[in-house]
């Protein structure tokens, strides 16, 4: 009834939906066991038991867990994630305003990662086992070892404290000053991008080496094609498939995982929002942002799986085995 590709797609889609449902359940349950009563946190230690009870009722915290979960999930499907306890604004609005920081930060980081890594990876592959190649590999190893947040601190030390070209943290809103906003994202994006460039440079190098060893490259050379055409048109295009995949995965990861860097640079992004919300026991925000982050990651993984299967049938059949 279905073609194998369609069958795989439907199977993965069902797994995706089941995973998302499971993730939502896990997030919901985990947050129920976090110590601390949100009502007590809002009203403070002076609150009377009656006031606490009234607030718990207003927040729906006195309902049974399945009812609370049902209310939350039906709200999610309507696009209503509830209201933040700390900020007293709609969580959807809060997320949108924080995405205005996190999304450009992720894009800029990926931009830096790609701009540094792909030329370096190609260069290393074309100069295999020569000093340039060793240089790139050393850069890659160091990049893998340096924590992004330390890279961020060093960049602050050099560019903000020593040269005073940038401020040491904070964010100017896009409305107030688009250039200022971009400037506040440059150092954090550089620290995230450089570390990811290390992974990508290594991958580009090994994929290029693999592609350059293939029969079709020998054929292209035998046809008398210029070396530039062989390298950039034939080898690079093939080598880039896994590289683009990893870039996609890194994008998902960056949307979710810039928590530490957002703290280093004091950026009001999604990561900092959820980090502070956990501390403030703002459970609706933690649930909403947590679900969104899991959604990003699961969707990116799904897209990568599907694209991989379409692009390379060997992987599709291989996935059945392992």
């Amino acid at each position: 009834m279905f073609t194998p590709v369609a069958y795989q797609f439907i199977k993965r889609l069902l797994i995706l939906l089941a995973t998302l449902l499971l993730v939502s359940g896990v997030i919901f349950l985990v947050l129920q066991v976090i110590p601390g009563d949100p009502a007590q946190i809002i009203l403070g230690i002076q609150a009377t038991p009656e006031n606490l009870q009234a607030l718990r009722h207003k927040l729906g915290l006195d309902l049974s867990l399945p009812v609370q979960y049902w209310n939350w999930m039906s709200g999610v499907f309507r696009g209503d994630l509830g209201v933040s306890i700390t900020y007293d604004v709609s969580i959807s609005e809060l997320i949108l305003s924080r995405l205005a920081v996190t999304f450009p930060l992720a894009l800029l980081s990926i931009f830096f990662a790609v701009v540094f890594s792909i030329p370096l990876g190609i260069y290393a592959a074309l100069h295999r086992n020569r000093p340039g190649d060793y240089g790139v590999m050393v850069f890659s190893q160091i990049g893998l070892a340096v924590p992004a947040f330390w890279a961020g601190i060093l960049l602050i030390l050099f560019f903000a404290v020593y040269l005073q070209w940038f401020s040491a943290g904070g964010f100017k809103s896009w409305m107030e000053s688009p250039l200022g906003a971009l400037k506040s994202l440059l150092l954090p994006a550089l620290s995230l991008g450089l570390i990811r460039a290390a992974v990508l440079a290594r991958l580009t190098r090994s994929c290029m080496l693999e592609a350059l060893g293939e029969d079709f490259i020998r054929t292209a050379r035998a046809k008398g094609l210029a070396e530039r055409v062989v390298v950039y048109k034939h080898a690079l295009r093939n080598a880039l498939i896994p590289v683009v995949t990893i870039v996609g995965l890194q994008m998902g990861e960056l949307l979710a995982g810039a928590i530490v860097i957002e703290n280093v640079f004091n950026l009001p992004g999604l990561g900092r929002l959820i980090f502070l919300a956990i501390g403030q026991r703002d459970l609706p925000v933690v649930q909403g942002v947590g679900l969104l982050i899991a959604f990003f990651i699961v969707i990116v993984n799904f897209a990568v799986d599907v694209i991989y299967g379409v692009v390379d049938p060997r992987i599709r059949s291989g996935s059945e085995e392992i």
């Binding site: 070892a145 924590p147 601190i153 703290n263 990651i297």
Partner: protein, 275 residues
């Protein structure tokens, strides 16, 4: 098997790791100063003869604290990888043995665990259990479980198809015995290599958690915490932000290179394809 001493990654990685191990062991018997002793008269001393790496805002010796921090990082690495490997091998071996819907169930559960960002999961876990070194080890260990489960399952599946497993079954060996005596020894190499890599990742994760204030608590020394404190005083004492970071990079580089070296040594086929 290649000659270990010709393996550059193994030699450099091994040396870096050995240096960390020696430093950590030494710190039990000797540190230049008491790492937690405050000396307000000696605040913000720059690196010199008296204090080779300088002092912090409380006059504590940075070198002594970096040395003690190594113990902290190594313990977190061991425990986190131990938790991941222990549960991962158990779940992965069972999934590979079961196949079918039980296997699918275990692996989807691992997908959920794996699908959630590690730092975020660790923050959630430490929020539930409370900040501290033990809880951060647990949090990082939990993140390691799906990685070892996937690896164990993937490698075990092919071993189960091999003739020597079929023979073991034919002579009537019990399944548990086959897993323990026949399958596990054959998948040990990739597990050791992955363990080394995860050790490096655990050190990075602990540093990140401590930086956020969720890992090792003051006054105990932790590289991540030291970087957090350094950020406030970076303008007057930049060295505060340099040495703990260098120590993290040193340890992570060491374990990464050791992992690469072991991979080349234990699995030449893999290193050839990986290049």
């Amino acid at each position: 098997m290649k000659q270990p001493l010709k393996n550059v990654n193994l030699v450099i990685g091994g040396t870096l790791v050995l240096a960390i191990l020696v430093t950590a062991s030494l710190s039990f018997f000797y540190t230049p100063y008491d790492p937690n002793r405050m000396n307000m008269a000696k605040r913000f001393q720059s690196p010199g003869e008296e204090y080779p790496l300088g002092t912090d805002q409380y006059g504590r010796d940075i070198l002594s604290r970096v040395m003690k921090g190594a113990v902290n990082s190594l313990i977190v690495g061991w425990v986190a990888v131990g938790i991941g490997m222990g549960f991962g091998i158990l779940f992965g071996s069972l999934a590979a043995f079961w196949r079918g819907w039980k296997d699918e169930g275990v692996m989807r559960l691992m997908d959920v665990l794996y699908g959630f960002p590690a730092v975020l999961s660790a923050i959630l876990i430490t929020s539930i259990l409370g900040p501290g070194m033990v809880n951060s080890m647990l949090a990082i260990g939990v993140f390691n479980i799906p990685i070892f489960t996937r690896l164990t399952r993937g490698t075990s599946l092919s071993v189960w198809q091999r003739d020597f497993v079929t023979s073991a079954r034919a002579v009537g060996q019990r399944n548990g015995r086959i897993i323990w005596n026949t399958v596990l020894p054959n998948i040990l190499s990739p597990l050791i290599v992955q363990g080394t890599v995860q050790f490096a990742i655990a050190i990075l994760a602990e540093a990140a958690l401590s930086y956020l204030g969720l890992g090792t608590q003051p006054p105990h020394a932790s590289w991540g915490r030291m970087l957090n404190e350094a950020q406030t005083f970076m303008e007057i004492s930049p060295w505060l932000a340099i040495f703990p970071g260098l120590a993290i990079a040193w340890a992570v580089l060491g374990f990464n290179l050791l992992g690469d070296g072991l991979r080349d040594l234990l699995d030449p086929k893999l290193s050839r394809t990986r290049r």
